[in-house]
């Protein structure tokens, strides 16, 4: 096959693996059927693949077996005849015979179930788990039907709070240790453990030390009974009243797969789905309980237009006309460069494309930036050679140069932590202040502003073999150019190194890929190189490169930008340099906000357009790996709010340019046709059930391996999802994007089909592939107009850092500002259960420097930078090196002064003075 591949052949480049496991090595007989199994596989797994379900409670496919509950007892042949063995603990052996339904096995299973029910309160009618409870289900399928126990059951106070969102009912607990194993093995936060023993055994926290985990909600999902319940869902619904769709979490850019469940038209619960390459069934609590923000009463539901000093409710027609008129007026008076659009990472891919086409193709300005000041240069993100999460956890060494991943990208943190703790992955954590990876990584502290210097040291001492660099923003008080420079150092020294972006905003990678960034156009191409191509298809493109967020805000503050559109963006509370944001929004002539909920910036707007929110509209999203997955709609948007792409299309109409978009699928088809990075990733491929875990773009020239999920999700591993399906709302019912389209995919029957492909992927799973493997755009001939432009290429020389370091620090401390998971941003604050978890603001210093300053923990100090000052409580923290001070971003409500008042985003090092308030 030649290097040139037609679009059609790309379409058939998906290969679906029936089973990615190595060839069968062991053959066992289960209930008389011969089952081929992998060496080392557990009996319970092998039987399950053969469609034989062995009852179980404690076994969880993502955790080590412990054989605690004995529910899975089966008869297994051995040298001394058949004996009862726990199927979750015993590995298959060649020639083994297993009986799951023999008299002895049944009797054992019934006995275990009767035993587990001895102390069980059987309060199913008032138990959240009732109707989706593995204990109920297996009591019916594998229980004796009757109990001989007539004595008093044990009693406990119920329920008790073990963490901020998790309640424990010890009477219902069957001691399966799933929750405690999760806490220890997966989250690495063993704040719950069994206490006592025998009939007094209980899951317990240490007095005064609650299970404060960002992942506590997972224990609720995997508890096989109603012992653990989550406050946001308690008594909200019954499983048989739930409807559900599978979708992707867009709270951060990890993009965990999950199921969104609703009852009576309102979202009530999210559950994690086991997506092998991404979240492996886990969610973080911010993602899991974020449904409350979608249902928040303060959501925008009508367009608002400013009349005199107030925003008053209006109609779409009036509001859109007001915006369109103003755009035309601004274009007439000052030209396209006087219009700027900030935001886009809240949007789905289709929305982002529609807006980019409107802004760059119709309005004609390149001032469009999705990253709101906490990102990295878009060309850099789009051009660095990428690694997937799977490649990252299988790397030789992972270098993290990012914020605290536990706070910003929780499930990525979980994957890295697990790989380090359980599989020995080597992690080097480059951070000015210790992070949540401290326990499993080697922490290499660097002085704020000196990331590139650290990178130089690292490349001089490390081999660079099989390295993946997780690249984000270690501190918001350090300009992105410094991190870009560090990345360039790595990339130049280690040509085989790969990068995993750690930018955290929801769909920021989709937004960048689709051109919501200055100098970029859809498909990871630059305006410079692809301008002509898109000009031909769109009619026109901007003539010159535009500004990023900081640039737009500066231009607005100086009056050059006259009109700003905030596309799901809130610069006042979400941009690191608050002073600049305030000056910009106060000065700009006309401010439009397109958002789901009101925020401090929208209160200054002249027009507010209400957008449909998460789970209210379909589309697709791109995660930090470049993995495109589909979103599904489950509930109606509030009031008259509309999807962002509809807003863009309508606005364009009013500007006299028809975008011609009628559906999400139609937009995606255009993306697939024009955007080079998206080429071949068709609507049909994305909609295929095999692509539920998404498709990583750009497609590789070799066959893209999709993995078919097990036909059925393990009902015990993901209780709730399967039972709801069985009770009448199958997964996917109600999905907004053309469900059920027959996939245009080849099921890989024969390896030879691809054998002559010179790009054929010869490396084993987990191997890092060389950069050249990626599709190079010249390889793709398209049946439209001219050749597609080339993907943006990485050039280390472009990234040399910003200003110079201060020769001598003028202030005793360098400021580091990081984000926390729970903060005073709009999302967390409009989710009732999460809002109280946002901590208070504190300054963290090294304990030695605390005492040198004569400051006791909790004492107030006045901190000041050339930008501003604030009074804050100081706390000693062993993870803060001397000469460094840490503040959390957004740690106070927007009207109070927070860290953003101190940051000057144009300097390399923000110096900080600390003085005790007397």
């Amino acid at each position: 096959m030649s290097k040139t591949a037609s679009v059609h052949s790309l379409r058939t480049r998906f290969a679906v693996a029936e089973d990615l496991e190595a060839p069968a090595a062991v053959s066992v007989t289960v209930d008389g059927r011969v089952v081929e199994a992998r060496k080392g596989e557990l009996i319970i797994e092998a039987a399950e693949r053969a469609g034989i379900f062995i009852p179980r409670f404690c076994y969880h496919p993502r955790m080590k077996s412990v054989g605690m509950c004995r529910m899975c007892l089966v008869e297994v042949s051995g040298p001394r005849g058949a004996s009862l063995q726990p199927a979750c603990f015993v590995e298959v052996a060649d020639g083994q015979e297993v009986f799951t339904e023999s008299d002895a096995a049944r009797k054992a299973q019934e006995g275990v179930l009767e035993f587990l029910l001895l102390n069980h309160p059987l309060d199913c009618p008032v138990c959240d788990k009732g109707g989706e409870c593995p204990l109920q289900d297996q009591a019916v399928s594998h229980g004796p039907g009757e109990s001989r126990f007539v004595e008093e059951k044990r009693h406990w106070a119920k329920p008790i709070e073990i963490g901020p969102l998790v309640l424990l009912d010890r009477e219902r607990c069957i001691q399966c240790a799933r929750c405690t194993r999760f806490a220890e093995e997966v989250a690495g936060e063993p704040f719950i453990d069994f206490a006592e023993r025998g009939d007094r055994i209980e899951v317990a926290i240490f007095p005064g030390e609650p299970f404060r985990s960002y992942f506590g909600g997972n224990t609720v999902q995997i508890c096989p009974v109603g012992a653990l319940t989550a406050t946001p869902y308690r008594f909200k619904s019954r499983p048989w009243d739930l409807e559900q769709v599978e979708t992707t979490c867009t709270t951060c850019s990890v993009g965990c797969r999950m199921v969104a469940q609703s009852s009576a038209g309102a979202l009530v619960r999210y559950l994690g789905v086991d997506s092998e390459p991404v979240n492996q069934s886990w969610l973080c609590d911010r993602g899991r309980f974020g449904f409350e923000a979608v249902e928040a009463p303060e959501r925008l539901n009508k367009p608002l237009v400013r009349s005199e000093t107030r925003l008053v409710e209006s109609t779409w027609n009036q509001a859109l006309t007001a915006v369109a008129d103003r755009i035309l007026q601004t274009l007439d008076g000052s030209g396209p460069a006087a219009v700027g659009v900030i935001g886009g990472s809240r949007l789905a891919n289709e929305d982002a494309y529609a807006w980019v086409r409107l802004v760059k193709g119709v309005i004609g300005t390149d001032n469009f930036d999705a990253q709101l000041g906490d990102g990295l240069p878009a060309e850099l993100v789009a051009s660095l050679p990428r690694a997937t999460i799977e490649e990252t956890v299988a790397a030789g060494t992972v270098i993290v140069l990012a914020g605290d991943l536990r706070e910003e990208l929780p499930v990525l943190h979980l994957r890295l932590r697990q790989a380090a703790a359980n599989d020995g992955l080597r992690i080097i954590d480059c951070a000015p202040v210790a992070t949540g990876l401290e326990q499993v990584a080697t922490w290499l502290p660097y002085r704020p502003g000196e990331a590139a210097e650290l990178a130089r040291t690292l490349v001089a001492t490390e081999s660079g073999d099989r390295v993946v660099i997780v690249l984000g923003r270690p501190s918001l008080a350090e300009p992105p150019a410094e991190i870009a420079a560090a990345a360039a150092v790595f990339a130049a020294a280690w040509p085989s190194a790969r990068f995993l972006s750690a930018l955290r905003r929801a769909n920021v990678h989709g937004a960048i890929d689709l051109g919501c960034a200055p100098g970029m156009l859809p498909g990871r191409v630059t305006l410079e190189e692809a301008g002509a191509f898109f000009g031909e298809h769109w009619g026109s493109v901007p003539g010159a490169r535009g500004l990023d967020t900081a640039g737009m805000l500066a231009a607005a503050a100086s009056g050059e930008i006259k009109m700003l559109v905030l596309l799901g963006a809130d610069p006042l509370s979400d941009f690191p340099d608050r002073d600049l944001a305030v000056r910009a929004l106060e000065r700009v002539d006309f401010l439009v906000t397109v958002d789901t909920a009101p925020n401090p910036s929208s209160r200054l707007a002249d027009v507010v357009l209400p957008a449909a929110g998460y789970a209210e509209r379909g589309g697709s999203t791109t995660n930090l790996e470049g993995r495109v997955t589909r979103l599904a709609a489950k509930v109606m948007p509030p009031g008259v709010s509309r999807a962002d792409w509809v807003i863009a299309t309508e606005l364009s109409d009013r500007l006299g340019a028809q975008l011609g978009f009628e559906s999400l699928d139609g937009i995606w088809a255009e993306i697939e046709k024009l955007a080079p990075a998206h080429s071949g990733c068709t609507v049909e491929a994305l909609a295929a059930p095999e692509a539920a875990d998404g498709i990583v773009i750009p497609l590789k020239p070799s066959a893209v391996q999709l993995t078919r999920r097990p036909l059925r999700l393990d009902p015990i591993a993901t209780p709730g999802i399967d039972s709801v399906s069985e009770q009448g709302a199958p997964l996917g019912a109600g999905a907004a994007m053309s469900p059920g389209v027959e996939p245009d995919v080849d099921v890989r029957a024969d390896e030879d089909d691809f054998a002559d492909d010179e790009f054929a992927d010869e490396e084993g799973p987990g191997e890092l592939e060389a950069l050249e493997d990626e599709v190079s755009p010249e390889d793709v001939s398209v049946p439209v107009g001219n050749r597609r432009p080339g993907l943006v290429r990485f050039a280390p020389g472009d990234w040399t850092g910003s200003g110079s370091l201060p020769p001598v620090d003028e202030s005793p401390f360098r400021l580091v500002v990081r984000r926390g998971l729970y903060n005073h941003g709009t999302l967390v604050q409009s989710a009732g259960s999460l809002a109280p978890l946002a901590g208070s603001q504190e300054l963290r210093l090294s304990p030695q420097e605390m005492s040198q300053l004569g400051v006791a923990p909790g004492d107030e100090v006045r901190v000041s930078t050339p930008r501003g000052e604030l009074v804050v409580a100081a706390v000693g923290d062993g993870g803060v090196p001397s000469g460094v001070a840490l503040l959390q971003f957004n740690a106070v409500p927007a009207h109070e002064t927070g860290a953003s008042a101190l940051i000057d985003c144009s300097v390399r090092v923000v110096g900080l003075d600390v003085e005790k308030v007397i």
């Binding site: 063993p190 069994f194 206490a195 023993r197 317990a204 240490f206 030390e209």
Partner: protein, 203 residues
Amino acid sequence: MGHLSSDNRARAKAIVACYPQRRSALIPLCHLAQAQDGWLSEEAMEDIAGLVGCTPAEVRGTATFYDMLHTEPVGRHVVTVCTNIACMLAGAYEVLDHAEASLKISVGQTTEDGEFTLEEAECLAGCDNAPCVQVNHRFFGPLDADGFDALIEDLRSGRLADTVPPHGILSRVDRNVGLPARAHRLGTVAGKQSGAATGAVPE
């Protein structure tokens, strides 16, 4: 009371150093803390967690698993009556009933003067002297109601002070973990109290 004393902290570190895995020292450290206070306070469990590198919840989980570790304050003498089969057949329940009546407490409670905590246990491996009673891990038996009264009287008056140390002192911790205390030939379990286990750092 509460946190480990600085002496005991030093001993704890020495114990931790005896193991390839810090965590293995968890139970010996629980005994050490119990030797200090007679029971394991929350502060002590927090200290132990820090020393062996696990969470206090895990220390408490382990400590509450074992009957010989107490996470609530106990009296100066912990009196444990065996009611397992050999002792039961020899009249253990009569002894236990009598103990409850004469001490005016039920199993699990401590007398008001803080002298005695009463416990019931499964086989103490003293079946040859059934019914068998343990006081601060020293064995007595066979006992009947009168014998029990006499034992209590002896304990109260201090006549057994040489044999029965205050609760919490096991005398075996140091020897078992191979500390230099080995040099001090410790007494037998039921025998004389040795100096090594009472708190002084050996050598």
